[in-house]
């Protein structure tokens, strides 16, 4: 480990001393940034390049690695399963956004004013955020069991159906549980966003005779633009990576059949169950490209990359 760590350190130091004339401060700056850069470079940036490279390799996960040219790619791109996984991923992404955004906005609006009752609500709503995806998955899986789950309650028999076991319903059930896990977080974002809207704006609008609906549409929503873009970015990019929950809910298969086999699951199954790391890396490369493209697009729209303070705009 020590040997691997040493190489990037020296390169980064020499690079900085070369570009600066005023030694000392820049040097200590480089030294301070070094641990973070090395760790992030080694496990973040190197794998990013590595995954592309491995997409052209043959590797079973244990033995030696050999080159296979474009074989993985031609097989991945001509495989209907890849396109189905991509389609499911897009479906989960779009439906999740449509479900979660209005809910999170409504809950955030409700949560924003301070008050005893509202903070009690907020405490309850917070609970899903404390549970791991695995805990949530196991709980819902047992809760939705057609024989012993919630459907056995008198009056709730309509829930006694294979919500996770039927190919037609499983994806929607998964999307519902994903919303259960993530809506509280996005509601918190909206709540924080709403609380930052200057009260003066509302006071001025009220003096001008604007009603609550007008105020909501003309002040609250436009002022939440940044929050909305942030929340949407996190939702869209995040939905590419729903793995833990779907893994647990489907017992590691992305099933029933392939009904919930989104891209990350397809990658996991190809790589770690079928031991074809090359093909899995090709699938993962699609995921990387998709993720980077999406966040590039949304950050372009939101100005998330700006280094200046957001507060200045007010």
């Amino acid at each position: 480990m020590a040997t691997t760590l040493r190489t990037p350190r020296t390169t980064s130091t020499t690079r900085t001393t070369r570009t600066t004339g005023r030694g000392g401060r820049r040097f200590s700056g480089a030294l301070m940034a070094a641990p973070a850069l090395i760790l992030f470079g080694l496990f973040g940036l190197v794998p990013l390049v590595g995954v592309v490279a491995l997409g052209f390799a043959r590797w079973d996960g244990l033995g030696s690695i050999g080159w296979s040219g474009a074989a993985n790619w031609s097989s991945v791109l001509t495989d209907g399963a890849t396109w189905q996984a991509l389609w499911l991923t897009v479906k989960v992404m779009v439906i999740s956004w449509l479900v979660q955004t209005p809910l999170a906005l409504a809950l955030g609006v409700f949560q924003a004013p301070h008050g005893r009752l509202r903070s009690l609500f907020a405490v309850l709503w917070f609970l899903p955020l404390l549970l791991s995806a695995v805990a949530i998955g196991l709980t819902w899986q047992a809760l939705l069991d057609p024989s012993f789950g919630i459907g056995a309650t008198p009056g709730l028999h309509w829930l006694a159906r294979p919500l996770l076991g039927s190919p037609d319903l499983a994806l929607y059930t998964v999307i519902f549980v994903i919303a259960w896990q993530f809506v509280p977080f996005h509601a918190l974002l909206y709540q924080a966003g709403i609380r930052q809207i200057p009260t003066e704006l509302y006071e001025a609008a009220a003096i001008d005779g604007a009603g609550p609906a007008t105020r909501f549409l003309r002040i609250t929503l436009p002022q939440l633009k940044y929050t909305m873009v942030t929340s949407s970015t996190l939702m869209l990019v995040g939905s590419l990576t729903y793995f833990d929950l779907i893994f647990v809910l489907s017992g590691g298969t992305g099933g029933p059949g392939t009904a919930t086999r989104v891209l990350p699951l397809a990658m996991y199954i190809t790589g770690f169950q079928s031991h074809d790391m090359g093909r899995a890396s090709a699938v993962a490369t699609l995921l990387v490209a998709f993720g980077l493209g999406l966040s590039l697009l949304t950050t372009r729209l939101s100005g998330f990359t700006r280094m200046d303070s957001q507060q200045e705009g007010l």
Partner: protein
Amino acid sequence: MSTTLTRTRTGAGKDDGADAAGRPVTARRAPWPHRAATALRRAVTGGAALLWTALVVVPVYWLVVTSLRSATDFTTASPLAPPGHPTLANYRTVLDGDFATYLLNSAVVTVATVVFTVVAALMAAFAIVRNSGSRWSRVTFRLFLLGLAIPLQAVIIPVYLLIIRMRLYDSLAAIVLPSVAFALPITVMILVSFLRDVPRSLFEAMVVDGAGDWRMLISLAAPLARPALVTVAVYDGLQVWNGFLFPLILTQSGDKAVLPLALTLYRGQFGIDVPATMAAVVLSTLPMLVVFVLARRQLVAGLTAGFSK
């Protein structure tokens, strides 16, 4: 940072303004369409609030109640009825097993990850802010920004390869190192935006006093950034505590399992004994519940810190 701003900003006067919920600021004039709109919006947000509360509370209640049922009670009783004869036997079953090992593993991984991440990120953020004019500072900042967009699922195969080649496979360090790497971008971002708002004159004053960068980092930046450090520590801690993919891929043996991975082992081990599995779920969540009770503010602040500005 943003959250501290939020709090001071909203601390006073926001409640009576309260327009987010649609209450009029001045009750002077409320013609009919306005009142109808208010009522409608209250109904929508209030209805959503109630529905959502039920959706959250019912599963959590069921989880706790089920963990207190005996196996026969579970198969015969109505799922939402309180248990006829509540029993802690399921908890005993879980605790008699290797739960302590899993708990310890989770604690070690979480503490190590948080400490490494926060220290490395603070140093990096300080360096970025102190040299903010220079090209490498901008490049470094952009690199971490790029890191926010790398889905860890997508690069897990090369990470797995690296860990094998470093001979770390199936160790706790195998979880810690990549966890630190993927916690760094957001942590650095938050700390940079915090330190950037520290007045330049404070640093200049220390320069005049002859302080070097390390002195400034330790005796100025670190104490000033304390609230932000707590926030990111809590956020990173929650993420790592609940993390599943790295443990799943990078460890193998039972004695290296962390809690989320152990939960899936329990399911295999207990099979149809749902109450025991649910007891394990409850037990695995208890530590976070304790953190929540002790530090709710920091937890909420931590969750939104990086994203709400």
